[in-house]
């Protein structure tokens, strides 16, 4: 069992005046996502087994490992897109196996996911795409939503608000994916290769955004094989680095 030291800081910014839901979680228990002796295999074979992990509120994790080792799979287990082959995954204290499809949908509103391939609805504008999580959870009056505007400014996409996703650059898409993951003010942010196809400078900017979010109390997990990114982060945030290796999840040490 890898224990993570939950470290909660006071909101420095008001950009995402969330934090009703975060408080609810704090009251409910300190476990956001919990793995208990989890194994997962596809038809091709087992990716990992005996994985136990507890994501405490406010923690910052990196998840690394070679391509194909199962990082994306691991994140999918975290937001209920997959059910483990064995073991138990709990999201906000609920066993994924016991959750209905509606329960999963509700849980996803509290977990912001930055997909590896940044999926958007190509027929909607960037603004509408960023607002999609609000839309599907029944919020109204999106255009003058202050949160949305602020968030777009924060990721530097205000001028692209009316562009369609296919018109965006790779970096813009990745920032947009991050913004969409944040719009619901989630407790947890799971980012799969958020800096996958951007240059160093942009990846530093994105990292800074994520660190800033962590300082506001968000729990962050970033899957990446970019060790440079991890090293850069370690100067600014107390992050734990997990590595999938030899079908086990290990805590990476000082070799980074």
């Amino acid at each position: 069992m890898i224990e993570t030291n939950g470290k909660l800081r006071h909101n420095r910014l008001i950009i995402l005046r969330s934090d009703l839901s975060a408080k609810a979680v704090r009251q409910k228990g300190r476990k956001l996502i919990e793995f208990e002796r989890v194994a997962h295999s596809y038809s091709g074979g087992e990716l990992f087994n005996e994985v136990s992990l507890r994501l405490a509120p406010g923690s910052f994790h990196f998840l690394t490992g070679p391509s194909g080792s199962g990082k994306t799979t691991f994140l999918k287990l975290c937001y209920g897109a997959l059910v483990p082959s064995s073991g138990v995954v709990r999201i906000f204290d609920d066993d994924v196996r016991q959750m209905s499809r509606d329960d999963i949908a509700l849980a996803r509103r509290r977990v912001g996911v930055v997909h590896q391939d940044c999926q958007f609805l190509d027929h909607l504008t960037l603004r509408e795409n960023l607002a999609l999580p609000l839309t599907v959870s029944g919020h109204e009056a999106l255009d003058d939503d202050a949160n949305l505007k602020e968030l777009m400014g924060w990721v530097g996409l205000t001028s692209r608000a009316d562009a369609l996703p296919p018109e965006l650059s790779g970096g813009e898409r990745q920032r947009a994916a991050l913004a969409r993951a944040l719009i619901m003010s989630p407790d947890v942010i799971l980012a799969d290769e958020p800096t996958g196809n951007v240059d160093w400078e942009m990846s530093q900017r994105l990292l800074t955004l994520l660190i800033e979010l962590n300082r506001m109390g968000k729990t962050i997990m970033i899957a990446t094989h970019d060790l440079g990114l991890i090293r850069a982060a370690k100067n600014h945030v107390q992050a734990r680095v997990l590595r999938i290796s030899g079908r086990r999840l290990q805590l990476a040490g000082a070799d980074l």
């Binding site: 897109a81 509606d102 509700l106 996911v113 999926q119 609805l121 509408e128 599907v136 619901m184």
Partner: protein, 300 residues
């Protein structure tokens, strides 16, 4: 009332949800077209069914009318045979009443042919007995046998009987009309299911993204259901109007024309047409709902 409310809410819908699913192009046009064509057919099946029903009712009414027993006997035996025949009839199952016509009544029957001055006394007229059947009717052959045994001069004439097969034909036709309507509704449902499945498959990626950001199945299904239901409603309304117009062009019902000219709708039956688009909408709603929930269940 809450049902009405949810129907209204559903029809007004959620513009944002509607937007999240991209236009579904040909599948929706296919739905409009098949709903229109099917509604057009239902108009005629309905008209046929109702007209056949009207005929069946009218003809079976006529059946319920009298049969007659005619007694030809020498004057001396006439009264005795009449009495005997009435006795037979009174004890026959299926006969409600039997009554010998008076001289005046027989004169009235003959007047159209021979004029009112006919000297009936001079003629050897048969005695007519009017027989009223019960709803179930009597067994004509059995009665004929009994009469032949007991009243040699009696002849039973249940002329209305020839309409019996026509009534059952009309009833079958009415049934056929209803069966057609049910089949058309099922076929419409099948077609809309196919169209909805195609739309859902084409939008698998969209659905996946919506699920990813926390959309519930019902929310996603609603966007598709609303689209197909409203299109089916519109298409069927158009088809129904078209069918109604075609019915109006048919020659109007007339006494002599019998069946063919009576095919149109009459009176309040025109209001039944309003039910056709509603039926189409209900069918589309259920078909799309089923298709959407089946598709969604297979996604994470």
């Amino acid at each position: 009332m809450s049902v009405l409310r949810s129907v209204i809410d559903f029809a007004i819908g959620d513009a944002q949800a509607e937007k999240a699913v991209p236009p579904t192009g040909f599948t929706v046009r296919l739905t409009v077209f098949s709903a229109a064509a099917m509604a057009f057919l239902v108009v005629f099946a309905l008209a046929l069914s109702l007209a056949a029903g009207r005929l069946a009712d009218r003809w079976s009414d006529e059946l319920a009318r009298s049969a007659t027993v005619r007694i030809s006997a020498p004057a001396a035996q006439m009264a005795a045979q009449t009495e005997a025949a009435l006795n037979v009839l009174r004890t026959t199952e299926g006969v409600e009443s039997a009554r010998a016509l008076s001289l005046e009544e027989q004169r009235a029957l003959l007047a159209p042919w021979f004029g009112p001055e006919l000297p009936l006394d001079a003629l050897q007229l048969p005695q007519m007995i009017e027989v009223i059947e019960t709803a179930s009717g009597f067994d004509g052959d059995g009665l004929r046998l009994r009469l032949a045994g007991e009243v040699p001069g009696a002849v039973l004439d249940n002329h209305a009987r020839w309409r019996g097969p026509l009534v059952s034909a009309a009833s079958s036709l009415r049934l056929l009309g209803w069966v057609s309507i049910v089949l058309i509704a099922l076929a419409t449902g099948a077609m809309i299911t196919l169209a909805a499945n195609a739309a859902l498959a084409a939008n698998a990626q969209v659905i996946a993204v919506m699920r990813l950001v926390g959309a519930r199945d019902s929310y996603i299904a609603q966007a598709f259901m609303r689209r197909f239901t409203l299109r089916a409603l519109a298409g069927a309304a158009g088809g129904t109007l078209f069918g109604a117009f075609a019915l109006l062009l048919l020659p109007s019902a007339s006494e002599e024309g019998g069946f063919l000219t009576g095919l149109g709708l009459q009176g309040a039956h025109w209001f039944l047409l309003i039910l056709i688009p509603i039926l189409a909408a209900v069918v589309a709603f259920l078909a799309t709902r089923l298709a959407a929930h089946n598709t969604l269940r297979s996604l994470t």
